[in-house]
Symmetry: C2
Subunit: 427 residues, 2 copies
């Protein structure tokens, strides 16, 4: 197996053990990118020389024993191009920000670098991660299909073994859906646990930093670096101790046959492995939850994009501006207050299960690059501020992957990842 | 009267009428700064040449009739130094960010510039606006006293007639308290209505952009540019139609005699002018509201400063790090949910009045520069997300100013400013 195929946690262990150098790993990732990038188009910017130099520095420090070393020592990562980097342009897939060079790293980038990560480059995004211009990125499992968005390049790069870890962001479904479409593990933690400083904002109530890897352990590795959780280390549950709630959501009729089959098959598998699997039904209070999300996103999006609409009205895509029609503040207020109520209500429901299993998207990635897919199975969880993980499943061998989503109550991130580890090994 | 003494709305009218040039105004502000800055120390950075050039451009555009011109055409402003500016350093009063040059303007700066504003420079702040190193700024009414903080330079610069408008930010009481201490009008709008993109974050739930001027009209001028409100233009109320609630808050015993006297005098004055003035008592649910604010601020502050604690542990002031002791996530969750409940509850109370009158601070600015004063009369309103205005009052001629605070329900910003106009003219 070439180093680029290692998961982040495998690579971290190999680097720590001295059986893999950061430079070899970075060079192998760059080799993979060189072979595949003309087809996948995951990257808005790559700093080959900088990445190799940083990897060499990491290796030299290791040789000199100059530790302690962070958990991501020498680990190549990709950063969604709405997230600032001090040494690379941050262009938001926008003509306004072409060549834009921020003066400092976004908080989350600074944290990953402080843990030893080597930033290889910036990944493609939908313009400002907000209904604007689509990137040219293709799905690594089938280049005729969308990788999803807006974290398109980050999901595709991990799915195509170009890099083991990438950063994304979610306002509607921008981490979980592309993760599902590209067949990788993607995680959106509890709202507010990762600083959004130095990142293009869209909706104050919804925007959340997330990340991709190729195993639950990869996701947990980053979660540990970001210190998002203060729960006691989750016990390793036997499957027979788990109670899983299946939540079909108010939008189940919009799930495609592959997704319905994947959820039912997973439920069957879990039941077969000894878990208690029950329906976790949302009561009628949740019926219009995606409408609430839409109200919040549009109203807060208007505040977030007002500056660009004023300063660069011709240079911001109509897809963004047409969404920013003015929502009356009283409607925003009602939506915010209702969402606050529903958060408490959902946490109570989720607290009765070890995890909630629900679709990560309607189905597999749709054919075509002009449409990044529907966030209908994502927006509600973003509004509820809860941690969400997508893990890949396949209905048939050779078929496109579909994403199974696991959800827990707010701040139950570590526990959710612990349960996900058990579930992933059974599915 | 020299141009620097004009309020922003007076200056805007004079520039629009062609009776004042932007260059004359900017030069007069720079003259005032030159005379007073060695005593007041309001500025972290001043771009004299850039400001004059921008003013000349504004004047030339006006001469050529190249409009339409924004409501701040040619208006000099100051920007708190935790807010990014593309053409000036943004240093956060931190050794970490010495000489830091952001690549682009913060959203709010872009909006003010798009409306014609000329940024003269960056104003002094407490380190990261967060319990860190205090600036060297002095109170313009008495240089032996603090101007308050963290928006110290912004409040002092307006109070000292150095510039008619400045931007600040509030997490605890960082706009309203310095405004009160420096005898100016300061405004914190409803949470979420002004984008915080490009600004140092501290608490996701609390951080709010605000601004200073020398009249209610100045505050409303900026509110209009930022489009924070969609209410119908507020009617000009006769005083006899107003119903004002006096809210002494759970912390009234901490108000100093000057503040108690100022509130009672204002109530008397309003009653005398025909307004209905009643006690607006908060019920016992609000008793521990500042503790909730403290929990949210500390817990979210840890997420916000984790990157600097990791990357620059020696270069961040202990005043910040010692506040960021880990608050359990379950305590944060409880505080967030309780705050959401109290917001609805307070809006219902505030909706029964045209405005709530309450102290803006304990009293006048304390003597000494080593302590920026107590935010005890501010944090609760920040947590409640409501619009707050401080307006200056004096108990006796020659005494230090004290701040009267007017508060309204969320998104009632325009209405609150309309009522404030009526109240200000009576007090």
């Amino acid at each position: 197996m070439t180093p680029n195929r290692l998961t982040a946690s495998e690579a971290a262990a190999a680097i720590a053990a001295g059986t893999l150098s950061s430079e070899d790993l970075v060079r192998d990732c760059l080799r993979r990118i060189g072979e595949r990038e003309s087809e996948i188009r995951a990257w808005a910017f790559i700093d080959t020389a900088g990445a190799i130099a940083a990897a060499r520095n990491a290796d030299t420090a290791k040789l000199l024993g100059a530790g302690p070393f962070g958990p991501l020592h020498g680990m190549p990562i990709g950063v969604k191009d709405i997230i600032n980097t001090a040494d690379m342009p941050t262009q938001h897939n926008s003509v306004i920000y072409r060549g834009n060079q921020p003066g400092s790293d976004a908080a989350v980038v600074m944290l990953l670098r402080a843990a030893g990560a080597v930033v290889i480059g910036k990944t493609e995004t939908i313009e400002f991660a907000a209904h604007g211009r689509l990137p040219v990125t293709r799905n690594p499992h089938d280049p005729s299909r969308t990788p999803g968005g807006s974290s398109s390049g980050s999901a595709a790069a991990v799915g195509d073994f170009m890099v083991p870890l990438t950063l994304g962001t979610q306002t509607g479904g921008s981490v979980i859906r592309p993760g599902a479409f590209c067949g990788v593990f993607g995680f959106k933690p509890t709202y507010g646990t990762v600083s959004a400083e130095g990142i293009k904002l869209f909706s104050l109530t919804l925007d959340t930093v997330g990340w991709y890897g190729r195993s639950v352990a990869d996701i947990a590795l980053v979660a540990g670096v970001l210190e998002i959780s203060d729960e006691a280390a989750p016990p390793r549950h036997a499957m027979s101790e788990l109670r899983i709630g299946i939540c079909r959501t108010p939008y189940w009729q919009r799930a495609e046959p592959e997704m319905k089959a994947a959820i039912e098959a997973a439920a069957e598998r879990l039941r077969g492995a000894g878990a208690k699997v029950e329906d976790a039904e949302l009561d009628s209070e949740f019926d219009a939850i995606n409408d609430l999300k839409e109200t919040v996103m549009r109203a807060e999006g208007r505040f977030a994009f007002l500056n660009l609409q004023r300063a660069y009205p011709e240079k911001i895509s109509p897809g963004i501006t047409k969404r920013m029609t003015r929502i009356p503040n009283r409607d925003l207020l009602k939506a915010l207050d209702k969402a606050a109520e529903l958060r408490v209500r959902f946490d109570a429901l989720a607290g009765r299960y070890d995890a909630i299993l629900t679709p990560a998207a309607n189905g597999p990635a749709p054919v075509g690059l002009a449409y990044a897919g529907d966030p209908i199975f994502n927006g509600m969880w973003t509004l509820l501020h809860v941690p969400c993980l997508t893990m890949p499943a396949r209905v048939d061998a050779g078929a496109m992957p579909v994403g199974l989503q696991l959800v827990g109550p707010r701040f139950g991130d570590a526990r959710l990842l612990g349960v996900a580890e058990t579930i992933a090994s059974a599915i």
